[in-house]
């Protein structure tokens, strides 16, 4: 095994206790609710008998001791059982699986937007340092970093949906336009079924939420790309390439950019946390039927099993993506010791 492979395996092994910790913390979450969760959950329903309450308590293992509860919880989780949502009268796993494609699609498009905008902006700002492009680009990205997603989203709706009427205010696709569901990602399904009408429609619905969610990430990507490009442009190999007479454009893209993108990859990995968090806000604003909106709804209906499972899914996703970033980073830069 090479050193890189050993490092990667070590990294994966180190992530396991963290994931277990996340699961335990998510378990404790429902037990930290002041008072009796069943009382609180059923408080609004009314007309529930004592026997029904007791059977509910038994269903959540609340009649057993904490360690026993934990073991039972882990056992069920291992079998893929994430609990049962009383409010929606369905298994939590089903609800979450149904919502995931919408969230993944939105996240992918946000990331795509962030990279398409952020990387060229960063390169241009570095290549023409202190020019007007650089100044405007960096001022905009500074604004992007300071701007909360919910405000940007609302401005977008007021300008592009209500004002200009170009884009829809909420939802995922016009009723009746949805392509046959294969992957659950509307755009991909539309492509597979060669349904251009649905593709266009889905993209119109995606535009505002994706830009809202991706703006902050784009700003960070632009800043990091700029500073690492500035550094790369000053290195000996870039100087040497220039001295050899390699065209400017080739030097920037081929020599400098390839090395400068390593920090960008790391930052994008870390920004996934921001994307996941922003997800709840953006989905709420745009009525996007994903995981984030379900969590927010679940919090207000005191649907604790659903909140618990969703928070766990978010955190595990974050751990896995950070792990993937680390591994990717090792491949890009074998000199780096993890």
């Amino acid at each position: 095994m090479t050193r890189t492979q050993v490092q990667i395996i070590e990294r994966i092994l180190a992530a396991i206790p963290i994931m277990l910790g996340v699961v335990i913390l998510a378990f404790l979450f429902m037990r930290m609710i002041p008072g009796d969760p069943v009382d609180i959950m059923m408080g609004e329903a009314g007309g529930v008998t004592h026997e029904e309450m007791a059977s509910l308590r038994a269903q959540f293992d609340l009649d057993k001791s904490l360690p026993v509860q934990l073991v039972l919880y882990l056992g069920r989780l291992f079998k893929g059982d994430m609990g049962y949502s009383l409010q929606r009268a369905r298994p939590v796993k089903e609800i979450i699986l149904e919502a995931v494609p919408a969230t993944v699609e939105l996240a992918l498009f946000s990331l795509l937007f962030a990279l398409i905008l952020g990387i060229p902006l960063g390169i241009a700002s570095a290549r023409y340092q202190n020019s007007i492009v650089d100044r405007i680009g960096m001022a905009t990205s500074f604004l992007g970093i300071s701007m909360p997603g919910f405000w940007l989203g609302i401005i977008g709706i007021i300008v592009f949906s209500l004002g200009l009427g170009w884009l829809p205010t909420s939802g995922r696709i016009t009723y009746g336009m949805a392509p046959k569901s294969i992957t659950g990602l509307m755009t991909l399904d539309a492509l597979i079924t060669a349904n251009t009408g649905a593709l266009k429609d889905a993209l119109r619905y995606l535009a505002l939420p994706a830009v809202t969610m991706g703006a902050g990430v784009a700003a960070v990507v632009a800043r990091v790309t700029r500073s690492s490009m500035l550094e790369a442009l000053k290195t000996d190999y870039v100087l040497f390439a220039k001295a050899k007479g390699v065209p400017d454009r080739t030097v920037t893209i081929k020599h400098a950019l390839r090395n400068a993108l390593i920090p960008t990859v790391t930052v994008v990995g870390l920004q996934v946390g921001t994307l996941l968090g922003g997800n709840m806000i953006v989905e709420t604003i745009f009525g996007w039927p994903g995981l984030g909106r379900i969590v927010v709804d679940a919090i207000f209906s005191r649907d604790y099993p659903l909140v618990q499972a969703a928070v766990m899914v978010y955190a595990l996703t974050f751990v896995v993506i950070n792990l993937a970033t680390d591994i990717f980073y090792t491949y890009l830069n074998p000199k780096m010791t993890l």
Partner: protein, 319 residues
């Protein structure tokens, strides 16, 4: 180990904050001039003169703080004053409702001024509490290392596995809306970054000569941590604190926007934006103006943070 008495003296003066020391003797392990109390503030302000953004940001923050503190004297109306006859009055500069009124006829300018109280208080309190806890634990963990450090570092790894906003949303769903619950939820994870930073900094300073010298002079561990090491690492901690304050304020208003922040009876920018969402079509000002107040404040804080970082701790600069 023999300790040059003169050297020790100069080191002590350095860390105790006299400005009579000279830089004649190069001291390994000390790369920056240590913090020396309020006398340093004028020095920092002087250096910030080359950062116009930070100066503008500073004045903007000052204006917000004045508004928050003297809100009852500055606000033209009471923030809760309902006037159903004047619902959705559009903003007209110079009128009695310069920024218009909301769905209940309440004056938006007054509510924005009062809303500054929550945002600034949450920003300052969460950063201060997180800083004290994080730096305290970081000093101990970095200085002694050993099992305390190992346990703490595992715990912080675990907390870092949760995206911040999701952690806070989860915590608020358990705790319920409320000012102190919000502070608790934000601080519960907020201290981690301060812990990590100060721990790493202490570890890098621990082997410095001035620490060894203090130890040779028989100073207690506590005294070394507080009066020797802390002044040498406080710069980067303050920079982090400033940059985080903007984040905390954004998070507070995001939570208030979702209805998980402070109770609706207290005017907060996030909940004002959220209320205004329903009336975006006819009354754009209800949702947008409170958000604008927030953006300007966060922008100002970040400008000051960046300026401070360039002046105090250039190493933190993105590279």
């Amino acid at each position: 180990m023999s300790v040059n008495a003169e050297h020790v003296d100069s080191l002590k003066r350095r860390s105790l904050g006299s400005d009579t020391y000279t830089l004649d003797t190069p001291v390994p392990g000390i790369s920056r001039r240590p913090w020396s109390g309020f006398r340093n503030i004028s020095g920092i302000l002087f250096k910030l003169k080359n950062h116009p953004g930070a100066i503008v940001g500073g004045f903007v923050i000052l204006a917000y703080v004045i508004c928050a503190v003297f809100a009852p004297y500055i606000a033209p109306h009471s923030p809760g004053e309902v006037a159903l006859a004047k619902r959705f009055v559009p903003p007209v500069i110079g009128s009695i409702n310069p920024l218009g009124t909301d769905q209940l006829g309440r004056d938006i300018l007054s509510r924005i001024i009062y809303g500054a109280r929550v945002s600034i208080l949450v920003g300052v309190l969460t950063v201060a509490i997180s800083m004290v806890i994080g730096v305290g634990l970081g000093l101990i963990a970095g200085y002694y290392q050993g099992s305390f450090d190992k346990i703490m570092s595992r715990f912080t790894d675990l907390l870092l596995a949760f995206p911040y906003l999701i952690f806070v949303i989860g915590a608020m769903s358990v705790l319920g809306p409320g000012f102190w619950n919000l502070i608790l939820a934000l601080c519960f994870k907020g201290w981690v970054e301060f812990y990590r930073l100060s721990r790493a900094e202490v570890m890098s300073q621990k082997a410095s000569e001035y620490v060894e010298a203090a130890r040779a002079l028989g100073r207690t561990d506590g005294a070394i941590m507080i009066s020797e090491i802390l002044p040498n690492i406080i710069h980067s901690i303050l920079v982090l604190g400033t940059l985080r304050m903007g984040n905390m304020i954004v998070m507070e208003s995001s939570l208030s926007f979702l209805g998980l922040g402070v109770p609706p009876s207290i005017p907060a920018w996030g909940s004002m934006v959220s209320d205004g969402r329903r009336y975006m079509l006819n009354a754009w000002w209800v949702a947008t103006l409170p958000g604008l107040a927030l953006v300007v404040l966060v922008l100002a804080i970040n400008l000051v943070g960046e300026g401070l970082r360039d002046v105090l701790d250039p190493r933190l600069k993105e590279n």
